[in-house]
């Protein structure tokens, strides 16, 4: 059973509003030639619309696997996932994803990468250009609109991948360590940008990270996983309002929470 340390959640839980995402007792077993490997076991989550939750856990504990199952890219071995009351059976543009590895399309320019999903939807070219320009500004890469991915640094590629997912305006955004490759300053400004978008667009976000401070700063709830097999060992509600600034990182309760999670991940 997961241990829940309850703070007052900024999201007002209303008994009559069903969660946006329900994950019930989900397990994943990978079968290789000679053995089976339990990557995720018995994970349950309930995430409300417009919530921002983060997931931290040691390397290899099944975070990416869990996210891929929510995206519909991977089947669950056991258990079910519902989004908007519908069972997840495969990937959809409604659930956008930013991957841990670089996944830009190398044959498309930065602008065309961002436009990829919009073109699939058949949105008129003028409208696409408008959206693309907006996100190019947002990720501060307007000068690289016509560059190919191979001309970009790792951090720049990741920013484009984020813009590509956001431009598609999915109602759920799944992010797998998106800021891992960024320097402190870029990371901080990308975090601000993400919070901004989240507040404006009412996106529901699940955010995986290794950075405990980042997990607390961004989210309203932090899920702490443990490995072998991957499962949730604790859930922490973050006691700060959605509208927060970097200063919150110096508040005592923030530091306390950070210490708790750090200690938990140590053993």
């Amino acid at each position: 059973m997961a241990l829940v340390l309850s703070y007052d959640s900024p999201v007002k839980r209303n008994a009559y509003v069903p969660p946006k995402i329900i994950i019930r007792e989900v397990s994943k077993v990978y079968k290789t030639k000679d053995k089976e490997f339990m990557a995720v076991e018995g994970v349950s989550m309930e995430i409300m619309e417009n919530e921002f939750v983060s997931v931290v856990g040691p390397s290899g504990c099944g975070k990416s696997t869990l996210l891929r199952m929510i995206a519909g890219l991977e089947e669950t071995t056991e258990g079910k996932i519902w989004v908007d009351g519908k069972e997840v059976r495969g990937p959809s543009a409604e659930r956008g994803m930013v991957f841990q590895s670089y996944t830009l399309f190398p044959w498309l320019t930065v602008a065309d990468n961002i436009a990829f999903g919009l073109k699939l939807k058949g949105i008129p070219a003028a409208k696409i250009k408008e959206i693309v320009d907006k996100y190019l500004q947002l990720i501060d890469l307007a000068n690289f609109a016509y560059s190919y991915p191979r001309e970009l640094s790792g951090g720049m590629k990741q920013r484009v991948a984020i813009a590509r997912a956001l431009a598609n305006s999915p109602s759920v955004l799944l992010m797998d360590e998106p800021f891992g490759a960024l320097d402190m300053q870029t990371k901080a400004s990308m975090q601000e940008m993400l919070l901004d978008i989240w507040r404006k667009e009412r996106t529901t976000i699940i955010f995986i990270t290794h950075d405990i401070e980042e997990a607390i700063f961004l989210a309203q709830r932090v899920y702490v996983m443990k490995g072998r097999p991957g499962s949730i060992q604790a859930i922490f509600e973050v006691p700060f309002p959605a509208q927060r600034s970097g200063d919150v990182k110096d508040v005592e309760s923030f530091i306390l929470l950070k210490k708790k999670i750090t200690a938990m991940l140590k053993n």
Binding site: A71, A93, M97, F105, P106, W107, F116, K121, R150
Partner: protein, 267 residues
């Protein structure tokens, strides 16, 4: 101890263009030098090994001769037809085999099997079936390149990273859009390289076909020269084929850089 990164023998490091050209010229001149030593020194009789001067004179005599050009014409025609036929059928089959496991099951084991049957062994059969007309030579080139091409195109498809496909799914791509908008553009540069390699093979099979079943073409020209012990003409024939091969190879290479500037090593 530091290991300085200068010098001309660094692993995978670029060297000055002048060094590169010198290296290339060196190997050409070394061959020319050994050849000259053997022939001018009469270590080998002139009948078997003509001197470089004689071959060069014969070369310029031949390229003034319309017969050579008609031989080139007919050989190029056969290559083009056989190669286009192999590509027109082989590329789609390769794409299918690389994309769908079931298609792989139908196509790949059979192709692997036939690939080990030497194309040259089919020549007598082809002659029985189609006579010694143009179709025979085209079929030899087709059989020599087709099976290998299917396997190589299938492998090209398989090298497209799974994460690119996953990314496009989460952006809303349908299965057929994944094929047309991700797999096909992704393999283009590798596909061109595959074709570039296969056209090299096509030249080999062309000459084989013309040696056994033809009364024109560059292979036939070599065969006829052999009957009259005109080794200098044999040398010229081989040289012309080498030059034509090099030209097609460079054309493919240039096209690749021109049309797919996004690929690694493109411009």
């Amino acid at each position: 101890m530091d290991r300085p990164m200068g010098g001309i023998l660094q692993i995978r490091k670029e060297v000055d263009r002048s060094w590169y050209i010198s290296g290339a010229l060196f190997s050409f001149f070394a061959i020319l030098f050994i050849w000259g030593l053997l022939s001018y020194g009469e270590v080998v009789s002139h009948v078997f090994l003509p001197t470089p001067a004689v071959v060069i004179r014969e070369f310029f005599k031949q390229i003034m001769d319309p017969i050579l050009w008609s031989n080139i014409g007919i050989s190029v025609y056969r290559i083009t037809m056989g190669f286009l036929l192999a590509a027109a059928i082989g590329i789609p089959l390769g794409i299918l085999a690389g994309t769908f496991k079931l298609a792989e099951a139908v196509i790949q084991p059979l192709t692997e099997f036939v690939r080990y049957m030497p194309a040259t062994a089919f020549i007598p059969l082809i002659m029985v079936w189609t006579g010694i007309g143009e179709l025979a030579k085209i079929m030899v080139i087709f059989i020599g390149t087709f099976f290998q091409m299917v396997l190589m195109v299938a492998d090209d498809i398989r090298t497209v990273p799974q994460d690119l496909l996953s990314a496009s799914y989460t952006l809303g791509a349908t299965r057929s859009q994944v094929i047309t908008r991700v797999l096909l553009p992704a393999i283009m540069p590798n596909l061109m390289d595959t074709l570039r390699m296969m056209i090299g093979w096509a030249w080999t099979y062309l000459v084989v076909a013309e040696l056994v079943a033809s009364n024109n073409g560059l292979g036939y020209m070599i065969l006829k020269a052999q009957r009259f012990l005109k080794t200098d003409v044999i040398f010229v024939g081989i040289l012309v084929i080498g030059i034509l091969g090099l030209v097609t190879d460079r054309l493919f290479y240039a096209a690749n850089r021109r049309f797919f500037p996004w690929a690694e090593g493109g411009s």
